[in-house]
């Protein structure tokens, strides 16, 4: 069967069917180009029944939990990535004991700090996304010229505006355009988002009331370094690809509070929708369980073919090999798998540093949004665990003169209480079995003792759980990360996957600039907690591998982070082929018929979720391919 697709000279071959791959395939398909998509993971099932039952049954409801490949094998042990054909990192292999254990962790992490983000290899790889569709702010594209930091993008906000609109239309975004005008973000005259904004939650309302009840003073907000007095910090709705009205045959949100990892009613857009549209054009062929492993470069530095391996079962071996020939090639395999593929392709020594890598930048400047999560208990009931996971946030602090000195941040307001740390299971178990993992089952002076004071039954249990759950609060800070040459993806020389391919090796650290961003975020947290009257339950374990301590306002504070799932930077775009991998249309400087797409091309990471921006860039690239590579 591999034989059939190998015999055709395709117009375009795309590796990866996630956001970027699906969007580009759809545009090319509509433009009547013959497209083949190679997808390393499983195909898309006719319904999400199995995903949902897998999710409901999962003991760890991590972002990967509904999807394949399976995470756990027999006796609840993590499956060794060495036998998985197309594996991926998971949250459960990011603990203190196993983040550097190659028998449990797919990524070979050399540190010094853990890289905390994960991805999937099916259903778009980020079907588990939250749905947030924030645009970058204009200054995000100009860090060098504005703030003397990092580099400028080869494009500006105004270049991308029309593509943001196209991406928003394709995804279907719910937001109020007036509310989204901040940090110089502007819209075309008369532009409206596709659907009305998602209503804010009772938790959002409390945050806003508390923070902005009285005008804020310079003493309170001076630390932000905004360059002007900050008397109000608005809590704004977050634009989301989540239906608030009928749109393109999908249902409106019913507040399942499960966006990550999967919306049970597909009210949240995910790339399988565009992938299905792409396949429906009649011009796009999709091949699952096909792992690209070698990009072959021929005469004139043009890519001539991509070799791939196939497998039948998740932990099975390679079953066949093939090779795709096309006129144009697009690698959309995500920010870790794309450079992995490029680096693996040495063409018998002709491309010793890998394909598209004359700049030596492939794999470098790996970025995430280190995500600083804080926890509190509110004095009054705010009714979390209701609505989408996040409906509002604080974006106004994402830009300002302070960026000369320290990283910017955005604030996510969680609607899911303490779910990220295991609730409702943890607190329920505490009060039924007399434990104190949550810290709620003992007075503050014994907050960290492992055994709790009460083991309850009956009405007392009901009252206690109601009283606790309804007051739980958490928020997160997405902090801009420095694009650092030494934060990079390389190939492990020692560890391979089930198909015999070298696994990605990661080195990762946080810069001083980013850590100063954490300091500011912590100060913001203190302001917020004071205004909301929250009892602080933030706790950093002694052996948390992401832990670092900073002296802030006279006290030594333990900080930590998790990955936001926003992986960026390893094939950065730029005008200078010596300093970048692709140009502003995401075409490789080295190979004129090769495009590298997705958030791997971001030269800087800013603070906004990357999906909408990568979607906009993908649509621009698709148009570019149609207009230049296939000019009629």
């Amino acid at each position: 069967m591999a034989g059939e697709i190998d015999k055709i000279l395709w117009d375009v071959a795309i590796v990866g069917s996630g956001f970027a791959g699906a969007l580009i395939a759809n545009e090319l398909g509509k433009g009547r180009r013959r497209v083949i998509i190679l997808e390393a993971g499983e195909g898309i099932p006719p319904n999400i029944n199995k995903y949902m039952s897998r999710f409901y049954s999962a003991i760890a409801k991590v972002p990967e939990s509904p999807y394949t490949p399976e995470i756990f094998g027999r006796e609840r042990k993590l499956i060794d990535p060495a036998i998985v054909a197309a594996g991926r990192p998971t949250v459960v292999s990011l603990g203190a004991k196993n983040w550097r254990n190659p028998k449990e962790a797919y990524l070979i992490q050399t540190g010094p700090r853990p890289f905390g983000s994960t991805y999937d290899r099916v259903a778009g790889g980020t079907s588990h996304w939250l749905g947030t569709c924030l645009r970058f702010a204009p200054n995000d594209f100009k860090m060098k010229s504005q703030y003397g930091q990092f580099v400028d993008w080869p494009i500006e906000y105004k270049d991308l505006n029309v593509w943001y609109e196209e991406a928003e239309k394709e995804l279907g975004v719910s937001a109020d355009v007036d509310e989204q005008r901040y940090c110089d973000i502007e819209f075309s005259p008369g532009y409206n988002y596709q659907m009305p904004k998602i209503p804010n939650s009772t938790t959002d309302q409390y945050v806003n009331e508390s923070l902005n009840r009285d005008p804020l003073t310079e003493v309170e907000t001076g630390f932000l370094g905004m360059g002007k007095p900050v008397t109000k910090i608005p809590v704004r709705g977050v634009p989301a690809a989540r239906n608030s009205a009928p749109y393109r045959n999908r249902r409106a949100c019913a507040g399942n509070t499960n966006c990550i990892p999967i919306c049970p009613i597909q009210a949240k857009y995910d790339p399988t929708i565009t992938l299905n549209d792409a396949r429906n054009t009649g011009s796009v062929t999709f091949k699952e369980r096909s792992v690209a492993y070698d990009i072959v470069v021929g005469a004139n530095d043009l890519v001539t073919e991509i070799k791939y391996k196939r497998y039948e079962t998740e932990t099975g071996k390679e079953t066949e090999r093939g090779s795709i020939k096309a006129k144009v090639f697009v690698i959309a395999a995500n920010t870790i798998e794309t450079p992995r593929l490029l680096l693996m392709s040495t063409n018998g020594g002709r491309t010793p540093r890998g394909v598209a890598n004359s700049s030596d930048m492939v794999g470098r400047c790996l970025m995430d949004h280190p995500y600083y999560v804080v926890w509190g208990l509110s004095p009054k009931k705010i009714y979390p665990y209701r609505g989408p996971l996040i409906t509002s946030g604080i974006g106004d602090l994402c830009d300002g003169p302070f960026r000369r000195e320290r990283a910017a941040f955005r604030v996510d307001i969680g609607n899911e209480g303490w779910n990220l740390s295991g609730d409702p299971n943890v607190t329920t178990l505490d009060f039924v079995n007399g434990l104190n993992k949550s810290g709620l089952n003992a007075p503050p002076e014994r907050r960290h003792t492992p055994l709790g004071d009460e083991a309850l039954f009956g009405k007392q249990l009901v009252d206690k759980l109601n009283e606790k759950f309804t007051r739980q609060f958490r928020c997160g800070f997405l902090i801009e990360q420095t694009p650092d040459r030494d934060n990079r993806v390389t190939l492990s020389s020692q560890f391979r996957d089930g198909l015999g391919l070298p696994r990605p090796q990661i080195s990762y650290n946080l810069s001083d600039y980013t850590r100063r961003g954490f300091v500011a975020a912590h100060r913001m947290k203190k302001l917020l907690f004071r205004k909301m009257g929250l009892d602080d339950f933030t706790k950093v374990a002694d052996d948390d591998p992401t832990r670092f301590d900073e002296e802030i306002d006279g006290e030594l504070v333990r900080l930590n982070y998790i990955g936001a799932g926003h992986i960026m930077g390893t094939c950065r775009m730029g005008d200078d082929p010596k300093q970048s991998v692709v140009d502003k249309f995401q075409r490789s400087h080295d190979h004129k018929n090769l495009y590298l797409v997705g958030s791997s091309t971001f030269p800087t990471g800013a603070t906004a979720n990357p999906t909408l921006t990568l979607a906009a860039l993908s649509l621009q690239t698709a148009r570019h391919i149609l207009d230049t590579d296939f000019r009629r």
Partner: protein, 252 residues
């Protein structure tokens, strides 16, 4: 629904649903009586205090006891745990006053029927402790403070020397049952006991559990008690989250 319809006919249309036993033709009363007699003979056998009866998950009486037990332990009313007409019957209708006749009581018939999964699981894993617990309910069946009595028998310290192993097993199974109802997950009683022993010296120990079934997860009470819903399973309408929730009594 039932209350809003006028009772114009001698046999009111709504009567059937509001009072499950209210089928009122002479013939059906006779049929019903026959059923009572048939069940009563089984019922009397169960009343023997000897206690060593194995639990039958298909027995309506055992299910009624299990629901009463679960309600006492979880603090959630039995009609919520067992929707679809749960009813305790005494021999003299209309008001259920002691003594309760288990053989005529109705465990409730609802389409989801998660109570059956929980009773089955508890019986498979800890049959002896389950019998102990059902016997505890039976002993207190007609007490005016039934729930409190059941709870009092199961709340004691780990180091209470007056308690026998059977008491301790029952206490921990009781907790496992509560966790099933609250989380849709099965925590072995032995695991619960071990956690209390291990955590002081190994605070990073992770509890072992398994989800009973996807259905059980979606019927979990922990977040309903908080006027919300299990994550990933909302049966509510767009925009509900922008309003404070309905009163707690709508949920429990």
């Amino acid at each position: 629904m039932g209350g809003s319809l006028p009772n114009k006919h001698p046999i009111a249309p709504n009567a059937i649903e509001d009072e499950p036993a209210g089928v009122v033709t002479r013939r059906t009363v006779l049929t019903g009586a026959a059923a009572v007699t048939a069940a009563a003979s089984v019922g009397t056998a169960l009343d023997t205090p000897a206690g060593a009866q194995s639990v039958d998950v298909n027995s309506q009486e055992h299910m009624v006891l299990f629901v009463l037990l679960s309600s006492a332990l979880t603090g959630i009313p039995p009609e919520k745990l067992a929707p679809g007409g749960f009813k305790l019957q005494s021999p003299n209708p209309p008001a259920p006053t002691p003594p309760i006749d288990l053989s005529k009581s109705i465990p409730g018939f609802d389409p989801v029927d998660v109570k059956r999964e929980y009773l089955t699981r508890a019986n498979e894993k800890c049959p002896a402790a389950l019998e102990y617990l059902l016997q505890l309910v039976r002993k207190n069946l007609n007490a005016s403070n039934r729930d409190e009595a059941i709870i009092a028998a199961l709340q004691f310290d780990d180091d209470d020397k007056t308690k026998r192993p059977a008491d301790v097993d029952a206490q921990y199974l009781a907790r496992s049952i509560v966790l099933m109802w609250y989380l849709g997950a099965w925590y072995e009683p032995a695991e619960l006991k071990a956690l209390r022993k291990d955590l002081p010296t190994d605070p990073t120990r992770v509890p072992k559990f398994e989800v009973v079934s996807p259905k059980a997860y979606t019927q979990a009470w922990a977040l309903r008690v908080a006027q919300a819903h299990p994550m990933g399973f909302s049966e509510m309408q767009f925009g509900y989250w922008t309003r404070p929730p309905n009163p707690r009594t709508d949920f429990i």
